[in-house]
């Protein structure tokens, strides 16, 4: 029983030096720092347009206090997006397939939203634990359910990202193995499998972008309740 399918998720090392930091810093090379010029190059224009689009969308439902979070949410979004998309290239390593990294991103940010809410407006934050209009006998059960749902949010955020990306990468590897193995035996089936591979790759590109967006969107939602 060989487990070579999971080798792609092992942290890359060169002579014992962990290179995950370089894998995480690589997106910075692809995103040039905006200059003070009015008309820059095509890459900077595209980047600026995209960041404006997503930041406006994210910041619309938040009040003035929430706008302080614009920088961290936008940079988190760009980081996750770039890391996910770069992971789709052959032989690359995707840091977001590691649960440790996603939990490290999700847990502190969720905790920050929770503590902000509990500190500045404790009544309103605790009030979110009981939806409006619930029948009176249900109140104790509902409080317990809502508390559990609140406490499970960081776990859900981290595991959602990890599971989606890991599953996608594994599927790509399995189906491509099937395609290559079938090529000498049944070429027609192999072509069908390669079609599935093409569709799967398109799905993976979409998933990479959506997962980054969902992560940040949910964080902004948690922020909305608490700020």
């Amino acid at each position: 029983m060989n487990l070579s399918f999971f080798d792609q998720f092992m942290s890359p090392q060169l002579l014992g030096i962990p290179l995950i930091m370089l894998a995480m810093m690589f997106p910075t090379l692809l995103l040039p720092f905006p200059t003070t010029r009015w008309i820059t190059n095509r890459l900077s224009t595209l980047q600026l347009w995209f960041i404006h689009l997503t930041t406006k969308q994210l910041m619309l439902p938040l009040n003035k206090g929430g706008h302080k979070w614009a920088l961290i949410l936008t940079s988190l979004m760009m980081l996750l997006l770039m890391i996910n998309l770069l992971g789709l290239l052959p032989y690359t390593f995707t840091p977001t397939t590691q649960l440790s990294m996603n939990m490290a991103l999700a847990f502190p940010l969720w905790l920050a939203t929770l503590l902000t809410g509990l500190r500045n407006q404790p009544t309103t934050s605790l009030g979110h634990l009981l939806p409006e209009g619930t029948p009176t006998p249900l109140i104790p059960a509902l409080i317990l359910i809502e508390t559990t749902s609140l406490l499970i949010r960081p776990l859900a955020l981290g595991v959602r990202l990890t599971a989606n990306l890991t599953a996608g990468h594994l599927l790509i590897q399995l189906i491509s193995t099937a395609t290559i193995t079938l090529l000498p035996i049944l070429p027609t089936v192999s072509i069908l499998t390669s079609l599935i591979l093409l569709l799967l790759t398109i799905l993976e590109i979409a998933v990479a972008m959506i997962q980054a967006y969902v992560f940040v969107l949910l964080l902004s939602l948690y922020l909305q309740e608490n700020i």
């Binding site: 060989n2 070579s4 080798d7 890359p12 032989y91 690359t92 390593f93």
Partner: protein, 79 residues
């Protein structure tokens, strides 16, 4: 003096003259980045080639990093 102007016999001398402190290495990386950026990306009609070269280089570097793992798969019968 630039590397292209150094004669082959003067190579060790030239290497000794270089600045290998962390600040020097950072400066060299910054200069290399600026040269690439201004030649291929910071132009009026930059195309796909600018970032494609960087991504292709990244794929090659990732292959080299994971080669010690991949070489076991070459002669394996069942993957």
């Amino acid at each position: 003096m630039k590397l292209m102007d150094v004669k082959l016999g003067q190579l060790p001398t030239w290497l000794a003259m270089r600045d290998f402190t962390p600040g020097g290495i950072l400066g060299a990386l910054r200069r290399g980045y600026d040269r690439y950026y201004n030649k291929y990306i910071n132009v009026k009609k930059g195309g796909l080639g600018g970032i494609s070269m960087v991504l292709a280089g990244y794929v090659v570097v990732s292959y080299i990093w994971s080669y010690s793992h991949l070489k076991h798969d070459r002669h394996r019968k069942y993957h």
